[in-house]
Amino acid sequence: MDSRALQFRITRLAGYGAMILILLVIGAPLFWMVTGAFKTNQEIRALPTVWWPELLQWTSLADLRASYVNFTEAWAAAPFGRFYLNSTIITLAGMTLEVVNATLTAYALAFLRFPKKNLVFILVLAALMVPNQVTILPNYVFLGRTMVDLFGQNWINTYQGIILPGASVAYGTFLLRQAFMGLPREVLDAAKVDGCGHLRLLWDMVIPMARPVLITFGLISMVAKWNDYLWPLVVTTNDNDRPLTVGLTYLFNQEGNTDWGVVMAATCFVIAPLLLIYLWAQRFIIEGMTAGATKG
């Protein structure tokens, strides 16, 4: 009996040990980023290693202005204000378009009559199979040259050029269609009995009832737009028109290896908003991800 309890306690202890180890491995890079952002160049190069920068120590925290010197320097090294604005616009517009597109298509596929409806559904799903890198060069040619032939102006360095090629949704449509078809029929039918048309049905019944899925998909879409890298990299050439992710890597290519403190501070600019949103909506995002995967 006693040895059993001992064995139980040992496995329990080993479990916590392993959990702490995993948290350390996952957390270490973020720790390295944050402390790096507060280190002076001497501290970064110092031997023995400086694990906790002086600027984050209690005595110097009193002098707040000094502690974020790397951040002010990073902010001045590239137009980060513009980057934030661009990223925000691209993310919000892209997410809105995706959610609207997915909702409308999913509603049509779930509730409206149409000949050969399955064909439409297959056409949407098949887009999942076309990888980004096949379309990226033709789309660049389309925005840069074909648009000039058609309308006399190209869409390089424009918001619509960054946003529109990514505004159609396959996965989200699939996700929402599944959710819509799982809504209780009785309630929807009752609404129809009361003379509810399709637009009112969508707006007053389906959207409120499917809210959790819509929020989850919106969050997933938002994260993807904020992090998008390859397409904005290709389609922007002006510094002022870049989103945060691309702007950051340009700064890194100039200053990396020479001024890690400033580069880490700039990296914080990109990562911080997402971490904050994640802290707030963590449950929604994880559950949405698993729901989409385990049902499939």
């Binding site: 509603y107 596929l109 096949v134 060069l137 389309f142 009785e186 992090n227 390859l230 995002i285 385990t294």
Partner: protein
């Protein structure tokens, strides 16, 4: 199956709209209403009109999405097939047709062969690593430990962070002089390799970063899968005298196999498209040691301005991905039959 249900739903739709008719009857159950639908042939003209407007509404609802797909997905795909048959520098007015020369060039090219090999190594390492570690972490967090929900959230966090930003942090970590990795190796008295400047270690480095970033996805999916395994299976195995390892081998692993397969396929497909990590950390180097298919496509198109070669390489990638997807579809079908 699905289609039949929606058709039936749709058919009952317009009839229910006849307010007076149904409001009189007290039963609102679905079969009753369908009965009404069949017994009112006099409403044909109205019925067809409503159907007509539904067709219009359907078209309006679906149009934006399909239009965007047409312009930015399907058309470019065809156009890319055409580009793979020409020689073009993205600037000149003419695009001379060269037939399959671009493909022939790729198949005979040593660098492209290296690129294929790199893609294979990167995919096997990243997918294998994130699935194996993901399963391990999921098994751990499936134990009744305090704070495991918080740990799950932390492990999942890197999947949501910008790949470009993450890569920059890791370049700093892999810095052979001031990086965290060198410091940690210093604790155990191992001299740090030069990581991103070394032809062997650079591949190891990007695999480490990829696994670090993506293992949370596998963890979360595996955790959800573990929670669906019925407890009595374990009880029965215990009664039969199965130890923890044998229970894992004979209950957990087989029960998780559909999820493992799903993760395997989706991870392979996303790994093929992993661009930001390679672009930021190594730019395919040193001397093409980390140049994978996706980076090669970008490099040929936007650095070397060789549209034909880029398009041909992107089609090679597309065909590989299609093959992976088709294998998944076939397997899923079989699963339905036997499972």
């Amino acid at each position: 199956m699905d289609d039949e249900i929606t058709q039936r739903r749709g058919a009952s739709g317009p009839v229910i709209r006849e307010r007076g008719e149904i409001a009189g009857g007290s039963s609102l159950s679905v079969p009753g209403r369908r009965g009404v639908a069949r017994s009112t042939p006099t409403r044909r003209s109205l019925w067809s009109r409503v159907v007509h407007s539904e067709v219009l509404l359907f078209t309006l609802f679906v149009a934006p999405n399909l239009l965007l797909f047409g312009i930015f997905t399907y058309w470019p795909m065809l156009y890319s097939g055409y580009l793979s048959l020409v020689s073009w520098d993205l600037l000149s007015a003419t695009k001379p047709f060269v037939g399959l020369a671009n493909y022939r060039y790729l198949l005979g090219d040593d660098i492209f062969r290296l690129v294929l090999r790199n893609t294979f190594v990167f995919t096997v390492g990243s997918v294998g690593g994130s699935l194996a570690l993901g399963l391990g972490v999921a098994l751990l967090l499936n134990q009744p430990l305090r704070g495991r929900d918080g740990a799950r959230a932390v492990v999942f966090a890197p999947t949501l962070l910008s790949g470009a930003a993450i890569s920059i942090i890791w370049v700093y970590i892999f810095d052979p002089r001031f990086g965290l990795m060198a410091k940690l190796l210093g604790f155990v008295n191992i001299a740090s390799p030069t990581w991103l400047r070394d032809t062997t270690w650079s591949m190891v480095a990007i695999i480490i970063v990829y696994v670090w970033k993506n293992l949370g996805f596998a963890t979360v999916i595996y955790l959800a899968g573990l929670q669906t395994i019925p407890r009595d299976l374990y009880e029965a195995a215990k009664v039969d005298g199965a130890g923890p390892f044998s229970r894992f081998r004979n209950v957990t692993l087989p029960m998780l196999s559909p999820i493992s397969f799903f993760l395997l396929v989706t991870s392979i497909l996303t790994t093929f498209q992993a661009f930001d990590i390679i672009s930021v950390m190594t730019q395919g180097g040193p001397v093409d040691a980390t140049n994978t298919l996706i980076y090669y496509v970008y490099e040929q198109g936007f650095v070397a301005f060789n549209a034909g070669r880029a398009a041909a390489a992107s089609w090679v990638l597309f065909i590989i991905m299609l093959a992976v997807t088709l294998i998944q579809l076939r397997y899923s079908e079989r699963k339905v039959h036997y499972g």
